[in-house]
Amino acid sequence: MTSLPEPSAIKLGLVIDLDICVGCQACVVNCKEWNTSGYGAPLSDESAYGAQPSGSWLNRVHAFEAGVGEDAKTVHFPKSCLHCEDAPCVTACPTGASFKRAEDGIVLVNEDWCIGCGLCAWSCPYGAREMDPAEGVMKKCTLCVDRIYNENLPEEDRVPACVRTCPTNARHFGDFGDPNSDVSIMVAERGGYDLLPEQGTKPVNKYLPPRPRRKSNDESMSLLAMADAATPKGFWQWMDNTLEKLG
């Protein structure tokens, strides 16, 4: 059923902290590793060892530069499905393969029904869906639905693979429907925001902005000033004094 369900009380999603991400790509690799053997068909690659390797991945890390001058920033920017509340990929699907779960808001693809028309990928503004080159069905982030409820895993592993593997804690998983959850508090405190809000998709995943650069107006902090202020000793004091006398 590709009509969207009523907004669920539980809204599972990710917070991505752009201040912390170092662009190491560990989340990308662990996502592929888990999902190639989990939900649905494997995530295939084409000419993986050739000159132009390509394949389906559910999580990609871009890098952007923002601003100019000393306030400019390099920002590593992970991007995966944002599990939108008004998901255009779901309503566009002609077969009912694409759906949003009524219980927790996760957007999934039923790969046995998918005809591989690609219209859902066209309707997603974030590029979160990629056609699998071998299987001919649409692949997307499942929010590791086969991990988060999996009682065979130790409790600390019941989070999406990208979150579990992030070495810098730049990714967090939680319920945005609960205003007191860690992720909701983080978003409230740090000013978490939506990507492409003008597209009207109401994404669940939120991004935390890079923290502003610390300004050093204090002259004493300057290395040059510190070097000038230091008094040389011994041989260098004699040298300093002698050169001073030479005028």
């Binding site: 590709t2 009509s3 752009l18 662009g23 990308v28 000159a51 132009q52 390797p53 390509s54 991945w57 990609r60 890390v61 871009h62 890098a63 952007f64 530069e65 923002a66 601003g67 100019v68 306030d71 400019a72 920033k73 390099t74 920002v75 920017f77 991007k79 255009p88 309503t91 566009a92 699907c93 002609p94 077969t95 009912g96 393969a97 998918c114 005809i115 591989g116 028309c117 219209l119 990928a121 066209w122 309707s123 997603c124 503004p125 974030y126 590029g127 990629e130 056609m131 080159p133 299987e135 001919g136 069905v137 990507l195 492409l196 003008e198 597209q199 009207g200 991004y207 902005p209 890079p210």
Partner: protein, 309 residues
């Protein structure tokens, strides 16, 4: 957007077939001779089903295409499929009635015509409903599809009248000329809008980093092209877009108009006019996809979504 041949063929050919059948069901063609009935019904079913079959060619799983008829409540692609099947079925009934009992009543034809208009509208809304492709998300998109379908349909209808040696009313020729001029004028307006419309989305809104300053792409997330770039970042057409627009107008409008004005009763000339027109539509449809930019290309360093650049 990637211009898939199967989709270009589908939208152009089924558009032509639907336009043609829209005029036939109004009873303007005398189908009392079996040969005429056979030729007209073969042309209509051939064109519409060739288009529909072609549209399944780009699917990853064509054998599951029947599932696409299920989600008509939310999906324009599904609605298009359902309506096309309804049109084919009702056209089948209409031709069968003609065969057994003579011309069906006009209200049947008008009912089928409404279904036909809805089908072409649904085809256009598959693309027109996508907010992510700003140039498609425009009220003129469905208008152009409908007008082109009517143009192609009238030219094919005139050819059929001439071929069957039936009298061609002057008003039909005038309507065809008016449709041709109107359709391409609207298409020109669509192109103008495409060139002059800004987009609300930018790399700043896509990343949310606009508060820091201008955002530039520093590194793509992968070393070679991926599905998104192949599918949404097609660039070849944009280099020659203006030339191709004029080529499509030359074939789609100018040559057919000359043919109709020169001799609007010759089956050969009218047939040529139809072929010229559909050639122009192929180019127009190729550009429709190839010129269109998807908002996701922002993430890959396209600084602006406007196409004219």
């Amino acid at each position: 957007m990637h211009p898939a041949w199967s989709i270009i063929f589908f939208t152009s050919i089924s558009g032509l077939g639907l336009g043609l059948s829209g005029l036939i069901v109004l009873g303007l063609l005398d189908l009392s001779r079996f040969l005429h009935l056979f030729v007209a019904s073969s042309a209509v079913f051939g064109l519409i089903s060739a288009g529909l079959l072609s549209s399944t060619l780009h699917l990853g799983h064509p054998e599951r295409a029947w599932r696409a008829l299920s989600q008509w409540r939310s999906s324009w692609l599904s609605r298009e499929g359902v309506l096309a099947v309804l049109v084919l079925a009702s056209l089948g009934c209409w031709f069968a009635w003609n065969f057994f009992f003579g011309p069906p009543p006009l209200w049947c034809g008008i009912l089928i015509l409404v279904l036909i208009v809805a089908t072409v509208y649904a085809t256009s809304m598959i693309y027109g409903s996508l907010k992510t492709v700003a140039c498609w998300h425009h009220p003129l998109t469905p208008v152009c599809y409908l007008m082109f379908s009517a143009c192609g349909g009238s030219l094919a209808f005139l050819s059929m009248l001439a071929l069957f040696g039936q009298p061609i009313l002057g008003i039909l020729k005038d309507i065809t000329l008016a449709l041709l001029i109107g359709a391409w004028t609207l298409k020109y307006a669509w192109w103008w809008a495409l060139d002059n419309r800004g987009s609300a989305s930018s790399l700043e809104t896509a990343t949310g980093l606009g508060t820091i300053g201008k955002v530039r792409s520093l590194m793509p997330p992968h070393t070679s092209e991926n599905y998104l770039q192949k599918e949404m970042g097609f660039v070849v057409a944009r280099r020659h877009a203006i030339k191709l627009r004029y080529i499509s107008i030359f074939f789609g409008a100018l040559l057919p108009i000359i043919c109709v004005i020169f001799n609007g009763s010759s089956a050969v000339l009218l047939g040529m006019a139809t072929i010229f027109h559909i050639t122009g539509i192929f180019v127009e449809r190729w550009l429709f996809f190839a010129e269109a930019k998807h908002v996701v290309t922002l993430y890959y360093g396209d600084e602006q979504l406007s196409i004219a650049s």
